[in-house]
């Protein structure tokens, strides 16, 4: 995947990603209209299909609301790269099939407006604007399988059908 970068800072919390005042619905399209609103009120208008979010440490801290990765994914964001992710956001992203990568170097060096290409299977991030390459740890096989099945629900369906167990579940 390849896309235009939007850059955010440290400790972007889930209230900034999708404020609680919009949580009286769980409709992804409604949620996406307010994505990142309290971090950047114009973001939902600017973001286009295939864009990439890059942030610094502890992205997605705070509440367990899956509405946060859902809003990001539904808004068309192809991938989130950060120095680190808060743990519930991390699991939610995997469970709903939103690709995420942890790379302190990429989080440091990629700027807003850069064009970035990502190879999810190897975890390699190419900065097409500066020519640099950064390496993130690829997903462990189990998490990769969840992603390949389109998220945890697809994975559980597959597990129930095949009764195979290649890792957790």
């Amino acid at each position: 995947m390849q896309g235009h970068v939007w850059k955010f800072g440290t400790d972007v919390d889930t209230d900034a990603i999708i404020p609680a005042r919009y949580l009286n619905t769980s409709d992804p399209v409604e949620l996406a209209k307010h994505v990142m609103e309290d971090a950047d009120p114009t973001f939902a208008q600017k973001v286009t299909e295939g864009d990439i979010i890059v942030a610094r440490k502890n992205f997605g801290c705070g509440s367990s609301r899956e509405h946060a990765p859902i809003a990001i994914k539904t808004a068309g964001v192809a991938c989130v790269i950060a120095h680190s992710f808060a743990r519930i956001f991390y699991r939610n992203a995997i469970n709903i099939g939103l690709p995420i990568l942890e790379s302190p170097e990429a989080a440091e060096k990629i700027e807003e407006g850069h064009e970035v290409k990502v190879d999810l299977t190897t975890g390699t991030i190419f900065n097409l604007t500066t020519g640099e390459t950064y390496q993130a740890a690829p997903f462990p096989p189990f998490m990769q399988t969840i992603m390949d099945k389109g998220g945890l629900i697809g994975y559980v369906q597959w597990r129930l059908q095949t009764e195979s167990s290649t890792g957790p579940y």
Binding site: D13, P19, L23, N95, G151, G167, Y169
Partner: protein, 420 residues
């Protein structure tokens, strides 16, 4: 090499005898929780899985507490999804308005989170039950859906950070202050992906209510859980309420910790977290002049009996400052009744505070006390992110109930000593 409490609890819920930090495992869960914000998505996802029934109707708790009593039509629709799902699957622990409470005040009170158990909840403050010696952790709605179907969840075994609190508690210092102090020291990602264990003389001396407020905020340090080993205080609390058999779990003597940090009670005074992160803490003596518009005493952090008793002891015979409003939210129906019996509600009303039915309400900027632009609240809640309690241009400060009550009287953030 031995195991920490978290490792041991996880191992006991798998078919392995030993688990190590970093292992990806699949574990059985003892309880699965969801609320009116997270469960609707979980229910939708559960239906997609295609199983006919839930794994165990006695091990799922559905608590409509965030926007209930329903604040608007949309929230009413979400709450209705829970109610209908609970009926369809004959869920034992669905708590309707009138029987409900703020989920993390309610589950311990009902004996539905117990020592040695794994409890997952589609709510980040599920970590509260670590105070009871459970491995309790927040997950998302999809995790909740899968767990409702299978009774299992995937985990990455966390490494453990041990925090030892020695010495004696200073006056007006509670579990809330210990955890705010700790977060101030290590930061909001200081325990990212880790299990925290709290121990030491100060912890031994804490009441159950105070311990619950402490473990409640483990997530504010980024942790997966914040566990206190069960002792007599824990067993006294759970034995009379437990809805199931349970087995307390303790760390092995040779358990391996990633790090051990020691604090001394003498250094810890009541804490205040400044906007917009729980790590921006200061001791009450360093706060300076901060005028406030609203005080909120409640939430899953500080809406229990001990909190209300403390607040009442300070508000008794005083009036709320004329430029301020005070909203007091007991955590559960039982707490409301107990506070009524003890005369606390009278004290609050006499002081010109309002008392609400149990709800998360203003804690997450839902309803029942939203802030306008430029307004400032002092709250006994757990998060002070931008916009958390209303307008993105408002501010939230966090403290314990004693400081909140004293500040309600003076109109600015104040130590309890200032009004006594």
């Amino acid at each position: 090499m031995g195991m920490t409490i978290a490792e041991k609890i996880l191992a006991r819920h798998t078919d392995q005898t030993v688990v190590r930090p970093g292992d990806l495992i699949n574990a059985k869960v003892d309880m699965v929780l969801g609320n009116d914000i997270t469960a609707p998505t979980a229910i939708k996802e559960f239906r997609r899985i295609g199983v006919e029934t839930v794994f165990d109707k006695d091990r799922i708790a559905l608590v409509p507490d965030h926007f209930t009593p329903n604040k608007d039509i949309q929230s009413a629709e979400q709450a209705k999804l829970l109610r209908e799902f609970a009926r369809e699957h004959d869920i034992t622990y669905y708590f309707e308005v009138g029987r409900m409470g703020i989920e993390h005040a309610l589950l311990p009170e009902m004996g539905l989170a117990l020592p040695g158990e794994i409890v997952i909840g589609a709510d980040s403050h599920t970590c509260t039950y670590g105070a009871l010696g459970a491995l309790a952790t927040g997950v998302g709605s999809t995790d909740m859906a899968a767990a409702m179907a299978l009774g299992e969840a995937w985990f990455k075994v966390p490494s453990t950070l041990k925090f030892v609190f020695n010495g004696k508690l200073n006056r007006w210092v509670s579990g809330k202050d210990l955890i705010l102090y700790l977060i101030g020291k290590i930061g909001v990602d200081g325990a990212l992906y880790r299990s925290m264990e709290f121990c030491g003389e100060l912890i031994d001396a804490l009441s159950m209510d105070s311990r619950l407020s402490m473990s409640n905020m483990a997530i504010e340090a980024g942790a997966k859980c914040g566990i206190i080993a069960p002792d007599q205080t824990t067993l006294d609390y759970v034995t009379e309420r437990a809805k199931r058999d349970f087995t307390p779990v303790y760390a092995d003597a040779d358990a391996e910790y990633e790090k051990v940090t020691t604090f001394d009670g003498a250094d810890i005074e009541p804490q205040v977290a400044f906007p917009h992160l729980p790590e921006n803490t200061r001791g009450i003596s360093d706060v300076g002049e901060v005028r406030i518009d609203q005080v909120v005493i409640g939430s899953c952090t500080n809406g229990r009996m001990e909190d209300l008793r403390t607040a009442a002891s300070i508000l008794k015979g005083n009036k709320v400052h004329k430029d301020l409003r005070v909203i007091i939210i007991p955590g559960t129906q039982n707490i409301v009744r107990q506070a009524m019996k003890e005369g606390l509600l009278d004290i609050f009303l006499e002081a010109e505070a309002i008392v609400s039915t149990p709800t998360c309400g203003p804690c997450l900027g839902g309803h029942m006390g939203i802030l306008a632009q430029g307004e400032r609240a002092l709250a006994t809640t757990n998060r002070n992110f931008v916009g958390r309690m209303g307008h993105p241009g408002s501010e939230v400060y966090l403290s314990n109930p004693a400081v909140a009550a004293a500040s309600a009287i003076t109109g600015k953030i104040s130590a309890p000593e200032e009004v006594l």
